[in-house]
């Protein structure tokens, strides 16, 4: 049978964000996936170069709506490391609490979306209802449901009052009960088992070869979590386990995320109960010394990397953001091969793609009014060889 190209996006009713899939199919089976990501380039990195360290953090939060604390913490952590600031333990604990609450709401949101994709809307309603309890807790602590504004270079902006700690602790038992239910459901519910088991399989070797991160890698048995491997914030003090699974399919990714929900509750409970006394911030100098730093952070979707270069002023010279979704796209293209076309939405949803955060570069050809793609050779030529007068590949 001849191969047919099914074009999905960039604007499509089933897509939440703009992305273009060209799915090459042979009958019902997917042969190959070609994708174009950069439809939502916002120029965040360039805008960050023009703002001082106080004004840049609200911008960093807005890289992503779901992992807004992840981006601002990764950035603040990098700058603090360059400035060689010692962050008070109470600030570290508060950052950890918000980070884990954020992970919980992100995973519950993902579970809802995955359920919605397979047509199991009941679970979608339930998880999103339970997510509200977490959103309420975050709103009580930070003043906002989404962009928390908790971080500043040197610590956190708001302290937690005993009343807020008690209110948060009171919500946890109910959430625990709900998560127990989801653990039970994912192992027994026929609707989920049929659509998740054996779909989008990725072996451990493949996961390592394609550089996957986060729950996608951990579901294939790769024991890689920045919180354990390169501890930051208060993760070194808190007892918790890395959740891995050996299934390597969408079912495994669901199990990892639900397991992480459980671990996150443990971390939040420990941090709330053992919140150290003391100041919540140190005064940061206005300027950062010249330096380069690679700040790593385990965002809900995987390893988030901020590369920061400072030049002795109160602004960054360069900030480069590598979001976890970008690292996971190759694995999606690979594990889609030989799968049914109808399983495409659930396999794509399984990495929890966040496309707007991923958009980092847009090529503009002003003369021909075109945007385009750049090959690796051309990219290297633009970076290095062009200055040495070498010819364009």
């Amino acid at each position: 049978m001849p191969e047919v190209v099914v074009s999905i996006g960039p604007h499509h009713p089933a897509l939440k964000e703009p992305v273009n899939f060209k799915v090459v199919v042979d009958g019902e089976k997917i042969v190959r996936l070609e994708l174009d990501l950069s439809y939502n380039h916002r120029g965040v990195e360039k805008a960050a170069e023009q703002r001082d360290f106080i004004r840049v953090l609200p911008l960093m939060e807005r890289v992503c709506g779901i992992c807004s604390h992840a981006h601002s913490t990764a950035f603040a952590k990098g700058i603090e490391e360059i400035m060689q600031l010692e962050i008070p333990p109470r600030a570290q604990y508060i950052r950890t609490i918000i980070a884990e609450l954020e992970r919980m709401h992100s995973h519950l949101l993902w579970l809802g979306v995955a359920a919605h994709v397979i047509g199991f809307n009941t679970l979608f309603m339930w998880t999103w209802r339970d997510r509200e309890a977490i959103q309420d807790t975050v709103e009580e602590m930070s003043g906002n449901r989404v962009h928390y504004g908790m971080n500043e270079v040197g610590g956190v902006r708001r302290d937690l009052t005993p009343a807020q700690v008690t209110a948060a602790l009171e919500r946890l038992p109910n959430l625990e009960e709900r998560i127990k239910k989801y653990v039970d459901m994912v192992n027994k519910e026929e609707t989920m088992l049929i659509r998740f088991r054996g779909v989008g399989k990725l072996s451990k070797e493949e996961a390592l070869r394609y550089g996957t991160v986060g729950p996608t890698a951990r579901a294939s048995g790769v024991d890689y979590d920045i919180r354990k491997d390169d501890p930051y914030l208060a993760y070194a003090d808190v007892p918790w386990n890395v959740v891995t699974d050996t299934n390597g399919d969408v079912y495994g990714r669901t199990r990892v995320r639900i397991g992480e929900l459980w671990e996150s509750i443990r971390i939040v409970r420990y941090c709330l109960e053992n919140l150290p006394e003391g100041p919540i911030r140190v005064t940061a100098p206005r300027n950062a010394p010249t330096g380069e730093i690679l700040s790593r952070y385990e965002a809900p979707r995987g390893e988030l990397v901020h590369f920061i270069r400072t030049n002795g002023t109160d602004k960054v010279e360069r900030v480069d953001i590598r979001t976890p979704t970008l690292a996971n796209w190759t694995s999606v293209a690979m594990c889609l091969v030989n799968q049914n076309l109808a399983d495409l939405p659930v396999i794509v949803a399984a990495i929890d793609p966040c496309l707007s955060c991923t958009s980092r570069i847009t090529l503009l050809d002003n003369q021909n009014k075109k945007t385009g793609v750049m090959s690796l050779d051309e990219l290297i030529w633009r970076n290095r060889s062009r200055d040495q007068g070498q010819e364009r590949p």
Partner: protein, 119 residues
């Protein structure tokens, strides 16, 4: 079967949604809402306009005598906030030395009219 049990349980329990606007959504104490300025406290230092990430605050003429740390100062400027440009991050409140500019605990509407200002 776990789904069926939950469905019957939900049939007998009260709905999770709130009958808005009959019932109001509770607003937590720490909520970051509409920006407000207490003019008599402002010493016109311009810090708020410098830290504002959205560049929503401009300093306009507003000469006035203000009490600060037991001394009487004569200020020249006062802040003016473009309401719909404000992203309610709370940085002005965090950096204000006198607590003159702050975020109220009430909802702020959204819109596109750039002429609506808070002074």
């Amino acid at each position: 079967m776990s789904v069926l049990g939950e469905m019957f349980e939900n049939l007998l329990s009260r709905p999770i949604t709130i009958l808005y606007p009959k019932e109001k959504v509770p607003i937590p104490g720490a909520f970051r809402g509409r920006v407000a300025i207490t003019d008599e406290k402002c010493i016109g230092c311009s810090k708020c306009s410098l830290v504002c990430p959205a560049r929503a605050i401009t300093m306009i003429d507003g000469p006035r005598e203000v009490e600060f740390n037991g001394k009487t100062l004569t200020r020249k400027k006062r802040p003016q906030v473009k309401l719909y440009k404000c992203i309610r991050c709370g940085l002005c409140e965090r950096h204000c030395p006198t607590g003159a500019i702050f975020l109220k605990n009430e909802l702020s509407s959204s819109g596109t009219d750039g002429e609506i200002v808070v002074t």
